[in-house]
């Protein structure tokens, strides 16, 4: 089964290399075929907020760049790993630029879901999303925001299977591996 790792680290995020390699190795060790996309090297224009992907070319972003292939890869994947330096509690701008182009995967129509207004997914296929965030140092508030963000995203993706893993740079391989194992266990998706 295919896992796509969307690598949201920037050119200057030197501490991200080792955690990214650990993530890829651990997924491969569990039998996943891993496709890593270095988003900083991708040509992706920011989402324009035009809703063209809903009403002009439904299901496809009107911007013809790498965002289309990336979003397609997300749709095709059995597991999507969002790898990012935790930035003010959320995703890095590099990762978010790709995520903002997930709107074509979503239907424009409103509905009531979990007591709130949401959009259903365009496709029946249920996504499995693993958020792996790296903190430069322990930061409980940022960690809390990151975990809540994964939950909120999952709700907006038709209750996607989801889990959040938070690593602290330099904390050592064993605790990082243990946190990843817990996260993958929550996802209940295995190759």
């Amino acid at each position: 089964m295919q896992a796509v790792v969307l690598d949201g680290s920037g050119a200057g995020d030197g501490e991200m290399g080792a955690p990214r390699e650990l993530l890829v190795r651990e997924l491969q060790a569990r039998g996943w075929q891993v496709d890593t996309r270095a988003l900083r090297e991708a040509a992706i224009a920011p989402c324009r907020g035009c809703f063209g992907c809903w009403i002009t070319t439904p299901g496809t972003c009107v911007i013809d760049d790498d965002n289309r292939a990336l979003t397609r890869a997300v749709y095709d994947a059995d597991l999507v790993a969002l790898f990012t330096p935790i930035t003010f509690g959320g995703y890095s701008s590099t990762l978010k630029r790709a995520l903002d182009h997930w709107i074509p995967l979503i239907s424009p129509f409103f509905r009531r879901f979990h007591g709130e207004t949401h959009h259903p997914m365009r496709y029946a296929r249920r996504l499995s999303v693993l958020g792996v965030g790296v903190l430069a140092q322990p930061d409980a508030e940022s960690e809390d925001i990151f975990r809540n963000l994964l939950q909120r995203n999952a709700r907006n993706l038709d209750d996607a299977r989801h889990a959040a893993v938070v690593w602290v740079a330099g904390q050592g391989t064993q605790p990082m591996r243990a946190a990843l194992t817990r996260g993958l266990g929550e996802l209940e998706v295995t190759p």
Binding site: R72, F88, H118
Partner: protein, 226 residues
């Protein structure tokens, strides 16, 4: 006589026109200007062009006493370029070039009628302020953004008066160096219509827009299944 205080509005919407973030931010800016503030507005996307140096953005931040971020909600968070602007500001802070701005606040609007869906984005703004050493003056979460649809707020219907009133309350508080009062959020959270009607109206809007583009039959297209 002291120099007028400076407020910088950063607009996070990528839209060049019909930006609700711009409507909200501009209204607040006008109120602060009336109270004697010197105002400046920058569109983040324009300031972060790939070939740009971002110096104008960083210089404006350096000179401001108060920064107001007005931005839409994208996937439960801030739009990518808004995050990038905050990253730039934080990096500058890390370089030891401390910006003058001491106070930061945010207005986040979304297309969902429930204002609380913006809460996480506001939490990120609060975290940014803490990390760069700015005082967090609070935020305003606004649902039902399409009801404003980028039009000037003071020309709007009676239904949107609570939003204008919320911004009036905010302007007064900020002018007095106070955080955003709870009353402002209370006013902004007032429903302009029942949520079921909002959803129905929104769904009809998509059909109307698709009719103009002759794409009604494709609205539920699933191109990746082919």
């Amino acid at each position: 006589m002291s120099a007028p205080r400076k407020v910088l509005l950063l607009v996070g919407s990528p839209r060049r026109s019909r930006s609700t973030s711009l409507s909200l931010g501009s209204y607040l800016l006008a109120r602060l200007q009336a109270l004697g503030w010197q105002t400046q507005m920058l569109r983040i996307v324009a300031e972060l062009r790939e070939d740009g140096t971002r110096e104008a953005l960083l210089a404006a931040v350096d000179q401001a006493d108060l920064i107001v971020l007005a931005t839409p909600l994208y996937l439960d968070s801030l739009p990518s370029e808004t995050i990038r602007a905050l990253e730039c500001i934080a990096r500058r802070r890390g370089d030891g070039q401390a910006p003058k701005a001491r106070t930061f606040m945010a207005i986040v609007n979304s297309g969902f009628p429930e204002s609380h869906q913006n809460d996480l984005a506001l939490a990120m703004c609060r975290r940014f302020a803490a990390q760069v050493g700015m005082r967090w003056a609070g935020g305003l979460a606004l649902g039902g953004g399409p009801a404003i649809d980028g039009q000037p707020l003071d020309r709007h219907s009676r239904a949107l008066r609570p939003v204008a009133a919320a911004l009036d309350v905010m302007a007064t508080a900020l002018d007095q160096g106070q955080p955003v009062p709870a009353q402002a959020q209370h006013l902004a959270s007032r429903q302009c219509m029942p949520h079921w009607l909002y959803r129905l109206d929104g769904n009809l809007l998509w059909y109307r827009l698709a009719l103009k583009r002759r794409s009604v039959t494709k609205l539920r297209a699933r191109p990746y299944e082919s």
